[in-house]
Amino acid sequence: MRRRSIGRRGREECKMAALGSPLRTLRGLLRELRHAGGRASRPYRDTPAYQHVVAAFRAHRVTSEKLCRAQQELHFQAATYLCLLRSVREHGALHQEYHGKGERSPEEVAGLVGFRLPQQPGGKG
């Protein structure tokens, strides 16, 4: 159970400082892509998503400008995609744990209050 402290993030700081370091975003993103690889038929390093992310980060690494807008845009996009992958995974895990059981069968429903369904040879009706 994670408590969110609003006071700590209450200050309206520099917008890009809230993103953290690009390396951390990249590492988190690659980790999420590893979890997101559905089938083990192909290693996650071969997936187009992995290659695209790595190539994009490499291409924007070297820049002659101090405040490169394209770099910041890429970092924001990467952070957004990381948030998407992470939230979908966490949401799926929560759904599976709390809401994934589906309906109870009639026998289970009867068993909740201690009843048993009558057994009729040949079924009802």
């Binding site: 998407l84 949401h91 799926g92 709390y98």
Partner: protein, 288 residues
């Protein structure tokens, strides 16, 4: 005997009884869920493909599930203008394990909406719907009590409103009355003309984000990369976070809603950025 015949009929023609799969379903592949139970929800579709890949067609990038091309719910070919977006959609399809969970595939849903336009709205109607949210914008609606919440709203929301006012050179303000803030017409016109500069796909995404966050100002903050997704979601749910801090968090409700809102908002924001960008990389020669 009669009910036995009925059961036989239901078992044989399930497609007649059950509605089609939810709108986010792909049209390709065999149609109709199986199963013969009367009141069960439509059976989930199993993952019927092994590989997901991307190819470039005439209209843009297409997704291939094995050898089949992905289609929208209305049967059109699924094409996206941006390669990065196509890769992200392919990753969504690839990350499905045994069953396909359409409710987790937010980018696919957004692309389907943009391609099909099921509500059949034109650009102006979308823009008007988006700007209409300003009249009931979350960050403009303040409470008077409890005092701690009122102060929290002032501390957290005032900077964002000030940023929007400065960035777009408009007057917004906030209000504690039940009627909400009084937004001048010039403000609305400014936002209308600003949103008109986005293309149709990006507008679908923007309207989606606004509907999720219940705030035009927070959505513009996201589009302009002023705040991150996590921060925007936090600001949108400020009162809930305040109550959670006070009374505790219920994981299966609070965290569940938080993750879902974050996922949808992140998907919408990414969609807008990928649909409205045109990036070029300038290679300069190293001079030493």
């Amino acid at each position: 005997m009669l009910s036995g015949c009925r059961r036989l009929l239901w078992g044989r023609f399930p497609t007649a009884r059950f509605p089609r799969p939810p709108p986010a379903a792909a049209g390709s592949g065999p149609v109709g869920p199986g199963g013969g139970r009367a009141y069960a929800p439509p059976a989930e579709r199993k993952r019927f493909y092994q590989n997901v890949s991307i190819s470039q067609g005439e209209g843009g990038f297409e997704i291939n599930l094995d050898h089949r091309k992905l289609k929208t719910p209305q049967g059109k070919l699924f094409t996206v203008p941006s390669e990065a977006l196509a890769i992200a959609v392919a990753t969504e399809w690839d990350s499905q394990k045994d069953t396909i969970k359409f409710y987790t595939m937010h980018l696919t849903t957004l692309c389907n909406t943009a391609l099909d336009n099921p509500t059949q709205r034109n650009k102006m109607q979308l823009i008007r719907a988006a700007v209409k949210f300003l009249e009931t914008d979350t960050v403009c609606y303040r409470v008077e009590e409890p005092a701690a919440l009122a102060e929290l709203q002032r501390n957290e929301w005032d900077p964002v409103v000030a940023w929007a006012e400065k960035r777009y050179n408009v007057a917004i303000g906030s209000s504690t009355s039940i009627l909400g803030p009084n937004i001048p017409a010039s403000t609305k016109e400014t936002f209308v003309s600003h949103l008109a500069s986005y293309n149709m796909w990006a507008l679908q995404g923007i309207e989606y984000v606004i509907t999720q966050l219940k705030s035009l100002i927070l959505s513009m903050g996201l589009i302009d990369r002023h705040i991150t997704v996590e921060k925007a979601v936090l600001l949108s749910r400020l009162e809930e976070e305040y109550q959670i801090q006070r009374w505790g968090s219920v994981e299966w409700a609070h965290d569940y809603d938080l993750c879902e809102l974050r996922a949808r908002t992140a998907a919408g924001t990414l969609f807008v950025h990928l649909c409205s960008e045109s990036s070029t990389v300038k290679h300069k020669l190293l001079q030493d």
